[in-house]
Symmetry: C2
Subunit: 313 residues, 2 copies
């Protein structure tokens, strides 16, 4: 099995990318090979610094880079030899089983939509993120920004997508799906959440437990938390800021330490035909390594086939 | 000056209400008088327990109670001698300068809308909440739940209302108004946030600093944070849960301690003709006391006149 990494993506690329890839290669020795995609002249010397530890890594050349500030769709179209475009081509061709990048988020989404494409039946793929649970384990929150504005049927599908991920990748049996709302009662909320509540209530593919509130993000009520991309993005960034503030204050706690994005490394795009993960722009080698391990777990679990089967009907 | 308190409102009423009122009476001695509204047979004995400390408190009888679980509009209409209905009547009649309750939030909103009424020109009053700022002071977040669904012009007005409160009650000159969004760039967000951005940009009454993100809630970027009631409610409850988790873990920190709702005691309803504050259902005596002090500050500042003058034109 091969897991690909955009060696040029992220604020500290290619150094952090190469270092993280070497860490992941050690973890995945005998199970998967890491494929780095990027400018040979920049990446090769960094690999050589690692000596034997980098021996199993493969380097696929890509001459161009999509910068963080570039217009995603335009850059993706114009830079067909960029590390992101090459990565998606390899993913689509089945040459790698997962593609990870800490680069331009928008370009990663564009590639997901136009190269590997959404699974037939999925209205809109979503970006998922992980939330630590107070009494252990992880929950999954989606969408966190792919779709600022959503129709009820999209959120219903986010519930299904998150449920499949929780089941097949996180190993949670019969995951509880909660709808983020401003009150627990069925009639509460916006036109959107009221409509989604009715859809999820009768959806046979999910274990819908009803509305949850902002205070339930970290507790045991739901394993899968469904919301529109605007709300999910606000919540995610708020949680990150809490971690940053605690780090600044040097408050250490095993639970709050799990807020650190490094621990999971990246956010999968769910509802597309292959496994793609978007990392944080500031990704460190540890974050890159964990993103690659997550890519391996996704590929290993067969999650994208599970999604295809579910939405086939 | 008289500040009224619903003695029957909150999970621990009337005990917590009376104890909190006595604390506030001491703080406000010589400046304002506390008026308790509630069932005489329940409140009088509690007041007597406080002896001389309760001597300045006035008790206005109200025979009925709107329970926490009751339908707000129906209960408000049917229970005209409830502590909430009597409180609003006194407020509207000018017999008290502010009315505070930790009781049924919906009934407090109903009373605000139908008894003291919105300020002419205000489309929809909002519930505001306070957020501690990392480097000192408080910011104001609105709406946090009065209006789950909003039109652009409502959010524009929330910016104006929050700005006036920040200026006249919190004493922040030229408060910075930020729009909660999923990215900083002007074009980002939902149809709603994009439209609100354009309105606030040209609004001469506010110092609009543009879009802010979830990570900016606690930093210095904005003093007034504008969002729809659904999003604000989710953020508020999420912040409260962080405080609860830290308390459970016995992590103490001066900044995070300010997340405690007790520190401010209540959420003002902004955009109505008088000063009304809604307290947390679980309000302790300290929370009740701080809610009353906030009511005094609002009355003292003349904020509701400032709002009337601004929206008159």
């Amino acid at each position: 099995m091969k897991i690909a990494l955009d060696a040029m993506g992220g604020d500290f690329a290619p150094q952090a990318a190469v270092d993280g890839a070497v860490l992941a290669a050690q973890e995945l020795a005998g199970k998967a090979q890491i494929v780095l995609i990027g400018q040979e002249s920049a990446v090769r010397p960094l690999l050589e610094q690692h000596g034997d530890a980098a021996a199993t890594l493969e380097l696929v050349p890509a001459s161009q880079i999509i910068e963080m500030g570039e217009h995603p769709a335009k850059a993706y179209q114009q830079k067909q030899d960029s590390s992101i475009a090459v990565g998606y081509r390899m993913l689509h061709a089945g040459e790698v089983e997962a593609f990870c990048s800490a680069g331009n988020t928008g370009a990663m989404l564009v590639g997901a939509m136009f190269s590997v494409k959404p699974v037939p039946g999925v209205l809109r793929p979503a970006i998922a993120n992980f939330v630590p649970k107070l009494h252990g384990g992880m929950g999954i929150l989606l969408d966190v920004g792919a779709n600022a504005e959503c129709k009820p049927e999209m959120l219903e599908q986010f519930g299904e997508l998150g449920s499949l991920y929780a089941q097949y990748v996180l190993g949670i049996s019969n995951p509880k799906v909660g709808l983020m709302n401003l009150g627990e009662e069925e009639g509460k909320g916006t036109t959107l959440t009221q409509a989604v509540h009715q859809l999820l209530k009768v959806n046979p593919h999910v274990n819908f437990i009803g509305n949850i509130e902002g205070r339930d993000l970290f507790n045991e009520k739901a394993d899968v938390i469904v919301c529109d991309g605007y709300t999910g993005n606000v919540m995610l960034k708020m949680a990150e800021s809490v971690y940053d503030i605690m780090a600044e204050k040097q408050i250490r706690d095993p639970f709050f330490d799990k807020f650190n994005y490094e621990a999971v490394g990246g956010s999968p795009i769910l509802g597309i035909n292959d496994n793609a993960i978007i990392g944080h722009g500031v990704s460190t080698p540890v974050a890159i390594c964990n993103m690659l391990l997550q890519g391996y777990q996704m590929a290993q679990s067969g999650i994208s086939d599970q999604i295809k089967n579910t939405f086939k009907s």
